[in-house]
Symmetry: C3
Subunit: 468 residues, 3 copies
Amino acid sequence: MKKLGLSILFAAICISRSWAGDEPPTIESNKALIDLVQSHADYVWTLVAAALVFFMQAGFAMVETGFTRAKNAINIMMKNLMDFSLGSLVYWAIGFGLMFGATSTGWFGTSGFFLSDFEVGGDPWVLAFWMFQVVFCATAATIVSGAMAERTKFSGYLIYSAVVSAIIYPIFGSWAWGSLFKGEGWLEGLGFIDFAGSTVVHSVGGWAALAGAVVLGPRMGKYTKDGRIKPILGHNMPLAALGVFILWLGWFGFNPGSTTAANKDIAMIFVNTNLAAAAGTFLAMITSWAKFGKPEVGMSLNGALAGLVAITAGCANVTPQSAIIIGAAAGIIVVLAVLFFDKIKVDDPVGAISVHGVCGAWGTLAAGIFNIGGTSAKIIGVQLLGISACFLWVFPVAFLVFKLIDKTIGLRVSPEEEMEGLDLAEHGGNAYPDFEVSSYGGIGSAGGPGSPSAAGDPIGQFKPAQQT
Amino acid sequence: MKKLGLSILFAAICISRSWAGDEPPTIESNKALIDLVQSHADYVWTLVAAALVFFMQAGFAMVETGFTRAKNAINIMMKNLMDFSLGSLVYWAIGFGLMFGATSTGWFGTSGFFLSDFEVGGDPWVLAFWMFQVVFCATAATIVSGAMAERTKFSGYLIYSAVVSAIIYPIFGSWAWGSLFKGEGWLEGLGFIDFAGSTVVHSVGGWAALAGAVVLGPRMGKYTKDGRIKPILGHNMPLAALGVFILWLGWFGFNPGSTTAANKDIAMIFVNTNLAAAAGTFLAMITSWAKFGKPEVGMSLNGALAGLVAITAGCANVTPQSAIIIGAAAGIIVVLAVLFFDKIKVDDPVGAISVHGVCGAWGTLAAGIFNIGGTSAKIIGVQLLGISACFLWVFPVAFLVFKLIDKTIGLRVSPEEEMEGLDLAEHGGNAYPDFEVSSYGGIGSAGGPGSPSAAGDPIGQFKPAQQT
Amino acid sequence: MKKLGLSILFAAICISRSWAGDEPPTIESNKALIDLVQSHADYVWTLVAAALVFFMQAGFAMVETGFTRAKNAINIMMKNLMDFSLGSLVYWAIGFGLMFGATSTGWFGTSGFFLSDFEVGGDPWVLAFWMFQVVFCATAATIVSGAMAERTKFSGYLIYSAVVSAIIYPIFGSWAWGSLFKGEGWLEGLGFIDFAGSTVVHSVGGWAALAGAVVLGPRMGKYTKDGRIKPILGHNMPLAALGVFILWLGWFGFNPGSTTAANKDIAMIFVNTNLAAAAGTFLAMITSWAKFGKPEVGMSLNGALAGLVAITAGCANVTPQSAIIIGAAAGIIVVLAVLFFDKIKVDDPVGAISVHGVCGAWGTLAAGIFNIGGTSAKIIGVQLLGISACFLWVFPVAFLVFKLIDKTIGLRVSPEEEMEGLDLAEHGGNAYPDFEVSSYGGIGSAGGPGSPSAAGDPIGQFKPAQQT
């Protein structure tokens, strides 16, 4: 199938339908071919970046499970798997069209649903662009799950995850980034700066997470009647750290990939992304050391994410020095924000609201303050408007959605199920049946290896209900 | 060494031996340079994709160990490490020549062994192409190990792994994809559609896995005399889920990288790959919910892989809508296939035969049915011929190889070793000596930290035999 | 924001300030545009490679924690996180200027600190290049931590990590690779071959690790008074294996990315990197089998790293056959070296000195021996000079730094803290509070889920001191 030598170059050339391989080259045909080769590089870069952003799903899954208890590990894997799977399908059907479809109002798009116009014979760039955007959508969706971990009903999760991916995220996205085709979003029209989504992706996820955590209420035992806060420790710090490293890697697709073009701008974006993350990590570690007397791992890991979230808006329009300042501030802010939300009894098991909501807002403001081309009251005003618009759109709508789910099929598991763990209650298995796990009722409480079972899934973790 | 400015462009230019930097450019020299720049992009894309596919080895390792017991975790790491290491060496020596060497018969290649013709002064594209192909070969080899987990002798594993990489996989590959140099495979000549290897890679691995599972027989205690099926639970669901995320990522190299060219085709391949995986995950989850009453994690994870395997053949020649249908069907099929193989007492600890063998066949058929350019009885016929040829080549030959190993050095460990776990029996250590593991004989049964030892490996897990 | 169609090509074109989109193309303008497109590919490749090398931090973290005890897992995550974070900041401030700044002496650079000259309006290539180099610097720094695991004070670690990244690594680097701007290093001037850093990165890390291990002394209980060597087993082999797979992946950025240009040379570098790793893995496995009677996992994993380290110097100037020989030898050498260092009572928990120091030296020598353009006594002499210069610079300086830290703030934790584990002593938490861990004092000894706490970090693992 694949012959050597000329065939390689030929393949590249033949892709260009505007240039016939047998005719002698002209200045104009060369120019068209150069444009084609550049566009090939744009495809490769945008799609490689999309692959890196996709991998962030694994990072979120590892962070979230690492920061929570062993008895809920399967549930967290299922949620991460499903927000991406279901999210991909609804973003294909609805979300992408709402976000990037042609718009005359600037408030939402009205074309491009089901990728229907572009499939056969259409511009393949739409497909590349969709691929890059679907992984962004999934990022916003998965942020929410962290704040709602360890107590949310799986069926309720599926519904709100679909709503976030189909409507809440795309609508705000269309204000700031739409459209791919015709028209522009009203925030974009005002000059709102959010290059890669501190607000569009992270604050959207963060404020939806806040709504979810408020509607759900705290996990059992987290806040005692006499006003004390009990720490509920995460069960696997190496996995959480691996998750953060994966997220940091993925952000090298998230931020520089947002150029959706292979050009020199990506260099500064890489450097800014890395320096902000480094400063965020270091400062969060120092802040935790000052606050608690010891350098704490959970805060340090969240510091990395805080720096990354904060630089996302301004990564293409601030200097590396500014990136360090933005990231360092985020590293301090995230520690204070986590303590604040705990003080007001908003139980966010992984710190998602602080990392994505608060630091997303900070980063968006900072993109205006440290703008490489200069700042102004107007720029700051637009940034504040965008930040506020995001909160005012996302929080109430998400709150309503969560309330609706709560009143109908239910948003929270029963106290018994929460005690038992969502893995067994919701998914019929345990994540670690070979190990002695304190939150289980003994080794292999869900039926260790070799326990008898008349039926059921021969592979996964499933144990028929009567066995457990 | 690396100077700024012009040196970068200069380096690129000087690589072109056909263009002298000091002469004024002409239309023709520009044209040659454009071709060169395009070919550079092809190298970068193909090799980045190869790196992503390589990473699938980590994914398979995590999935396989997650789905099996803690007492066999070292063994699974060793097998995954060795099928890639030994596989790379034998594919370099033998496999690549058999698969992509020049062929006059269309049944196997006869040149290119040891990369001998191409090394110095040869076309470097052969090396890039080899790199992309060796990671495919290793994928086929590692699939087999999953179905044979928890009971296979390590020395026997090394032998059959080498045979798969050197002979079984390359021979079939030459029929469908050969050659790189001169001539073409007989299946390719008939118009067989398998763009990235649903059959060539996945079914080959799956049918060899079936042969292995049949020759080995089930794990002890899996099927009781009174006809019941006992679930043997996997020991680490977060690792299994991480493995699936890694595999999904790697598939963004596997499928679009199979263009081996940086062009616009990769956009649709990315989208199709993602949508099929999403649909497979979601439908397998729904199917498990319907079958077992709860959404099950092992099935959902295998659903993702089923969707990915199924879209591999047709990723470049079906529409995104078709990709969703293909993936969704695979998500249902994989659940039914897993139950079927368990019913007929073929013990496949991770579901490899169902995922790779069955869904590989489905995907290959589907590539004919949903072919973007239209389908026909002839197309379907060729697809069915390719699917059948794969089974008829792989299953009997692999069966014979396994039988030969079984009769000579032995393919299966003793019952005592199987009980004790392959980690201790075959590799002299335990994967988790700090933890209480139910399948061990107590904490640190292999000698926890601090147990005395007169000699042996000071780093790894090795414990001298007399200590254990 | 992002419109379809022409806008993509337009963006690419407009980046070129030397070419005005509205004028008709000329041969010269086409030539300038071709150069621009090639340079875009160079940016993409170099930065994608940098992302892969960044991910090696996760690999090192997983290998190091897998090979050590559960009670020190948080500490190892914190060290890996901080050597990259703090290292990025000091390399930005000091290291990069010392390594790649303009040099008149050939002994160190004197410009480029704080990236100050290049930020606004400067050449963005400096930023791309910095990004690629900072991840190399972090690799050297993190190697050290492995050899000093399980007993080093965290504050002392932060200091020496900063010194390695700011001074020790950059100074040697400037001899072999400097400068980016003006002048060249004295070793480079002699023709020293170290394409991607067997000596510059790995031996630097390895010899600093040796100094650290010597100054620290062995872990408690490792060597008994009657001369026996006690194995101290690592706590998680799947994580260690995952780490090695991640490192192998990262090396596909490390070695071919060192071209810092998208060209055909990367093909052979990929192939050589892979074959050397494969041979190293296989031979280390065989060697461990011969030595211990069983194929051992720790040695096999280190064999992969040994092969990778060894091919790093010569990856661009040896044939694939030679790469196999170089890697195979490294696989044998690393097993013997690990046993040697243990015999002389240098306690290196992960084998970092053997893998990076010894195999780095071997690989650098081998790059001279197997040089594709022929070898000579002069070439070998220069290679030996470089190897020696590295040891003579790094070991004494690192030794002095460690001694200084030891005499001031202290380099080693107290025996009580070492017994208890660094996680609790230094970071106030445990990595696995849900599990029964033998090196803890019972389940959740640091306060399992639900234990009361009046204050402290609500997310991470932190437990106030009075609670533990």
